[in-house]
Symmetry: C2
Subunit: 232 residues, 2 copies
């Protein structure tokens, strides 16, 4: 069995949630039957969205330092619980000896295998992910729908980065209500599924809050990592 | 600031819970203000209780291998989210260059600082911890009360290791009811506080379930690690 590395810290809450998700995809009756997992949670990695928008330092050197810590500690395959960070994955892969499993590739696989009737995806994600055209590049066969500029700012970014937002530790009614309104707009505009396109989104928005499938790339990544680790 | 290492895997659920507790003791408005944490979760570390009871392999070599992985990855100070494993801490310390923070020492400090009227502690923990006299050795100034042999087996060990127990992933009514009955007996026998003396216990038993303080050495360890990391 391979050792799974989590290149986290972007942010710590999402890293914790992904560790939990990963364990939930790795059921075992005895401790000793679980997979070996190493979590590297360095919150000092520069903000991914800020850099994509031209307002902050390049996060790649810090991501590579984290990858190297995982490598020397013994990780074989690595997942990154931050969708925006996937914009930088090609550069990270190029400069690291580790095998990375992409959440976007895991998602494309899951869409092909399971969500065969879904052709249009409404994305709830950071402005960085939007500007980076992450989903458009990775999923060229799907219509990718985004909130308009006003809703992206006042609903989605506010739910994630606001004072009462998820990154400040809130998972309750305030960010949930903002994200529900954004999802409603996307569904009204033709989205057949909503993508929790930033690891913070599903900390507040749940499947029961909307009436189309809520797709969480982190669950798809966790399932792919466990499959890959058990194979080797 | 120092980097915190979590020497986990004993078991993964308790490791996840400790990571969560640690983050809750490290509040921050921005990701970048959090502490750097590395979690090593190797569930293959041999069962601590089994070895203490003379029925299984020595866990120390595997614990030292985990400690070494944390060291090369960059951890400065390390906590172990498994009380029974603290029996082996002196041997681990002797053979590792890392600085370990003991949950038992953190607990003694918290008792002295905060729980000044508590003189007798009722312990809910594994048979291994009981046999190892972990609490008796670390807290010589306190009366240490244990469930009788029958209750230790049918209530406490069943709640932790049983088919419907916590290590098999259950946190609901079955283990809770077993632990509440064990706590009741201890309180009736004179315990002024109940110690969640195994990391699995507080996954099912909560403060609201009993009418004396429920002391969780893992919370005390988390607070001590954060203090120490912010100092350096």
């Amino acid at each position: 069995m391979k050792t799974i590395g989590i290149l986290g810290g972007m942010g710590p809450e999402a890293t914790l949630e992904f560790f939990k998700t990963l364990l939930s995809y790795d059921p075992a009756e005895r401790d000793q039957d679980h997979l070996h997992i190493i979590v590297e949670c360095d919150p000092a990695i520069p903000d991914r969205t800020a850099h994509i928008l031209g307002k902050g330092a390049d996060p790649v050197p810090a991501m590579l330092a984290s990858a190297e810590r995982l490598r020397v500690a013994g990780a074989d395959i690595v997942g990154i619980p931050c969708m925006t960070a996937h914009h930088f994955l090609p550069r990270v892969k190029e400069n690291s000896k580790l095998h990375f499993v992409s959440a976007l590739e895991a998602m494309e696989q899951a869409l092909r295998d399971t969500y065969t009737k879904v052709n249009s995806l409404g994305i709830l994600a950071t402005a960085g992910t939007k500007a980076a055209k992450l989903y458009e590049s990775a999923l060229p066969r799907y219509a990718i729908l985004w909130p308009n500029e006003e809703e992206q700012k006042s609903l989605v970014m506010e739910a994630i980065y606001g004072k009462e937002g998820i990154k400040a530790g809130n998972r309750g009614e305030i960010p949930k209500a903002l994200l529900k309104r954004a999802a409603r707009s996307l569904i009204d505009g033709g989205a057949q599924a909503i993508v929790a396109g930033c690891t913070e989104v599903p900390l507040a928005l749940l499947q029961r809050d909307i009436d189309v499938p809520l797709l969480d790339p982190m669950h798809m990544l966790a399932a792919a990592l466990v499959r890959e680790a058990r194979k080797g």
